[in-house]
Symmetry: C2
Subunit: 229 residues, 2 copies
DNA sequence: GATAGTTTCATACAATTGTTTGAAATGCAA
DNA sequence: TTGCATTTCAAACAATTGTATGAAACTATC
């Protein structure tokens, strides 16, 4: 078995086990058993258990961040360098929501792993998350360009609340289903994204934009377009 | 030393250590050393480490939940049995935000403990949080009374987003400060509550209420009154 | 096919951890 | 004081865990 095969087997097995059991009670011995490799292989290939977890998480994070930046770039290109605020928020919350929610992702190991990482916060993951600020600054900058004149503070709060709604929906998915007795459809990812974006936008614009929308929530049916706002 | 003294000493020491170091690397030996009691005392008085953590968390949770219900009751009494939606949201997010944020709470062990419990999610705490749904149902019911005719689904999403903003602000407090370079004042708890309430209300009412507010966020200065909406 | 570098393997290590035990101490009522 | 129940204590237990080791197996290059 080549070196890369072992590495990949460990990564795959670890992600699978972490996804279904959580970080708390998965040991290196569990992982190597699942991967059918020797115990020492983890330390040989990754240095330590924490570095293995870190590599798993950064891989998925980079993926999400790349999608985010791609969407942001596309939105800015579309607007001639200045993206619409709702498109910026959409680029921010869309990728993680699509990555973690949705019926097709139900069986996705990657999705469940990221949900775990979002719920249980282990040291190696926390360290990586702390570096996320630099990534978010790019979105803050885009928002500043989209809303010149708007106070920076308001902008940060809007960004913060948008992430709050997205992440909390991922984290507390099960609870919301239970609380709403299944009425909230967590499989309708597009609808959820629309909701988060709509609320974030009124939070940022102070409501004057939303005033044009009907009393019935604009996201009730179908996808929210810019015309709806 | 009487039995209760030992119990209390353990509880206090544990909360202090968990608050400052997190659940991950505080052992029973650390706790008993801090409390100046024997190692076996924890198992004698609490049964197990997990039950100690659970008791710490339920104590604080009950406290928050009681405050919430008190505020809800007061709001309903004020409105003759039917509370205004913004007062319901305020009763929901006010207590945890006041409990965990604010300059005076900076040194509060209880506050820092609850923040830890919100960030790191250990099994005994997760188990308790899962029971929180019943508590939230009371707020869903109050909201239903406040907004008759409104689709239940919208109501749950509004409740969910309100909690999202409150909890995420508690969880990611430090990151928001760093991201905003200190521009977001996390010590202005009343202002934060106003923000969360304002956004939640427009999320719930679909924006038609917020349309009467100025373009500048209504929460920029002072406390948001119902007239502001 | 010999050699050097890489990877695998079984095993041991060392430290930590929550928990248990049984005796000693303490408190308290009769 | 005696006797009984509660509480404390030092010590040991038992199991787990991440990591390190050194030899063996393997791979690729010359």
């Amino acid at each position: 078995m080549s070196s890369d095969q072992t590495r990949s087997a460990i990564l795959a097995a670890a992600e699978r086990l972490y996804a279904e059991r959580g970080f708390g009670d998965v040991t290196l011995r569990d992982i190597v058993a699942e991967a059918n490799v020797n115990l020492a292989a983890v330390n040989y290939h990754f240095g330590s258990k924490d570095e293995l977890i870190a590599e798993l998480f950064v891989t998925r994070s980079i993926q999400t961040n790349r999608e985010r930046l791609n969407e942001l770039k596309a939105a800015e290109d579309k607007g001639g360098g200045r993206a619409a605020i709702e498109d910026i928020i959409r680029a921010l919350v869309g990728p993680p929501l699509r990555g973690c929610l949705g019926p097709d992702r139900e069986g996705s190991t990657a999705a469940r792993f990221m949900i775990r990482a979002s719920i249980e916060s282990v040291p190696p993951i926390r360290r990586i998350k702390n570096r996320e600020v630099d990534h978010l600054r790019k979105f803050a900058a885009a928002m500043r360009r989209a809303m010149p004149g708007r106070d920076d503070t308001e902008l940060y709060w809007g960004l913060h609340f948008a992430l709050a709604m997205a992440h909390h929906t991922i984290r507390e998915k099960e609870r919301l289903i239970r609380l709403s007795d299944g009425k909230c459809d967590l499989d309708d990812v597009a609808g959820i994204i629309d909701r988060v974006v709509a609320v974030s936008v009124v939070a940022l614009t102070g409501g004057e934009v939303a005033s044009k929308s009907p009393a019935r929530p604009a996201v009730a049916h179908g996808r929210l377009t810019r015309q709806d706002l």
